[in-house]
Symmetry: C2
Subunit: 208 residues, 2 copies
DNA sequence: TTGATATTCTAGCGCAAGTTAGAATTTTCC
DNA sequence: GGAAAATTCTAACTTGCGCTAGAATATCAA
C-alpha cells in the first residue's frame, strides 16, 4: 500500500508528470479549506463550499484528500508549519526577550496578511483522536517556545514579571480573534494593528 | 396565534401554574445551549447534545423553543444582557477611565466563573438575517461603550494614547479566547487570571 | 381518585452533506 | 492523431440531524 514499495522493477512508466499542476491544486484546496474552516468552523464548512472556492465540485476534492477530516488535518499542519517557521526565524535572530516577542508579533501579522488567516490554536475536536492529539501537542510545544521569549525577557530585564503560560494564552487570544474580525474591517492597515498590539500588550510587558 | 389574544372570556382556567418549574427548565436549557454552542460551535452543537446535558431528549427542547436558531438567538441575547448589566454597574460606579476598565474586566471574569462561558462577540452567521443583525448591532453598541472607557481614560490621563476601537477588539479577543481554553486548565484561579490580564493589557494602557 | 393540563418520549420524515462509483473530459507523451 | 494517464464531473447512496406528530407519562387541583 505504501507509496514507493515497487522495487527497482519496471513500472513507473510516466508516474511523476502530474507533480507540477497537481501539487498546485492541492495547495489551492488547502488554502481555501483553511480560510473557510477558520471563518465558519469545521462543521459549517462544507466540502461544496471549499470546492466552489476554486471552481471545482465537491467530489473532485477526494482526488487529493481521502476525506474531510484529513483535509482539515492537513490544514492544521500547514498552519502550524508556517507558525513554526516564523518562530524559528525570530529565534535565530537573537536579541533580548522583548525584542523577540515584538518581532514575532510583527512577522505573524505580516504572514496573516500575505497568506490569509490560519488555523492556529483553534478548535480541533473534530479530528481523529490521534490527529487531534498530534495537533495539540505540536501547539503546546509552540506555546512553550513563545513562553521562552517571556522568560528570557524577564531574565534580561526587558519584560515585567508575569506567568508566561497565562500571558502567552492571552496574546494568542488576541491573535486568533484578529483573524476573525479583521477581514470585515476594510480600511485597516497592518501598521495600525501592530501599533495597537504594541500599545495594548507590549507596553504592558515592557518594564518601565 | 399570539399569546394573550383571548379577550376577557373564560379560558385561562389554570394557565400560569407552570411558570415555576417551566421557567427554570428553560433557563437550564439556555445555559446548556450557550455552553455547548460556545464550545463546539453552532453547527457541531446538536440538539441531542444540548438536551442530553440536562437529561432530556432532543424533541423535548421544542416545547420551550421553536427551533435551533431561536434557541441560539435566545442564548446570544442572554449573554449580551449579562454583559450589558455588568457594563451598566461599572458605568454607574464612576471613577477614571482606567479604573472603570479594570473593574469591568474583573467583573466579567467573575461572571464567567459563576455563570460559565458566554456567547459574547462570537460568530452569529448561522442566525436569521434579522436576528444576526440585531445581535451585531447590539454588540457594536456595547463595544462603543467599552471604547468610551478608553476615551475617558485618555482624557483624564490614566490611559495611553491609542485607537479605542482597535484596542477594544484586542481585549475582546483575549476574553473570548479565555472562555475556550480556561475550562481545560484545572488549577487556575481567577486572581491569577486577572493579574495576568492586568499585567498584559492594563500596565500597557496605564500611562507610566 | 380523577380528570385536566403540562411535560417528555418514541418513531419517523425530509433534507443536507460526506462519500463513492463510474462515466466523461482533459492532459500528456509517443 | 491517438492511447494512456490524470483530472473532474454526474448521479446516487448513506448517515446524521433538525424537526413533527402523536402517544405516554408526570403534575396538580378538586
Amino acid at each position: 500500500m505504501s507509496k514507493g514499495d515497487s522495487l527497482i522493477l519496471v513500472e513507473e512508466t510516466r508516474p511523476m508528470a502530474q507533480s507540477q499542476k497537481s501539487v498546485k491544486k492541492r495547495e489551492a484546496i488547502l488554502r481555501a479549506a483553511i480560510e473557510i474552516i477558520n471563518a465558519k468552523g469545521f462543521a459549517a464548512a462544507t466540502m461544496t463550499d471549499i470546492a466552489a472556492a476554486i471552481h471545482l465540485r465537491d467530489a473532485a476534492l477526494y482526488y487529493y484528500f481521502p476525506n474531510k477530516q484529513a483535509l482539515a488535518f492537513a490544514g492544521h499542519q500547514r498552519s502550524l508549519e508556517r507558525f513554526e517557521a516564523i518562530l524559528a526565524v525570530v529565534e535565530a535572530g537573537g536579541g533580548q526577550g522583548l525584542c523577540k516577542l515584538r518581532r514575532f508579533l510583527s512577522a505573524l501579522l505580516d504572514d496573516a496578511v500575505t497568506n490569509g488567516p490560519q488555523l492556529y490554536f483553534g478548535d480541533s475536536s473534530y479530528l481523529d483522536e490521534t490527529q487531534r492529539q498530534a495537533i495539540e501537542e505540536w501547539t503546546a510545544r509552540l506555546s512553550k517556545r513563545l513562553e521562552r521569549f517571556l522568560e528570557e525577557g524577564m531574565a534580561d530585564g526587558t519584560i515585567t514579571a508575569c506567568e508566561p503560560s497565562l500571558v502567552v494564552q492571552l496574546l494568542v487570544g488576541m491573535l486568533i480573534w484578529l483573524t476573525k474580525w479583521t477581514p470585515t474591517t476594510p480600511g485597516l492597515t497592518n501598521e495600525r494593528l501592530l501599533e495597537a498590539i504594541e500599545t495594548t500588550a507590549l507596553q504592558g510587558l515592557a518594564k518601565a
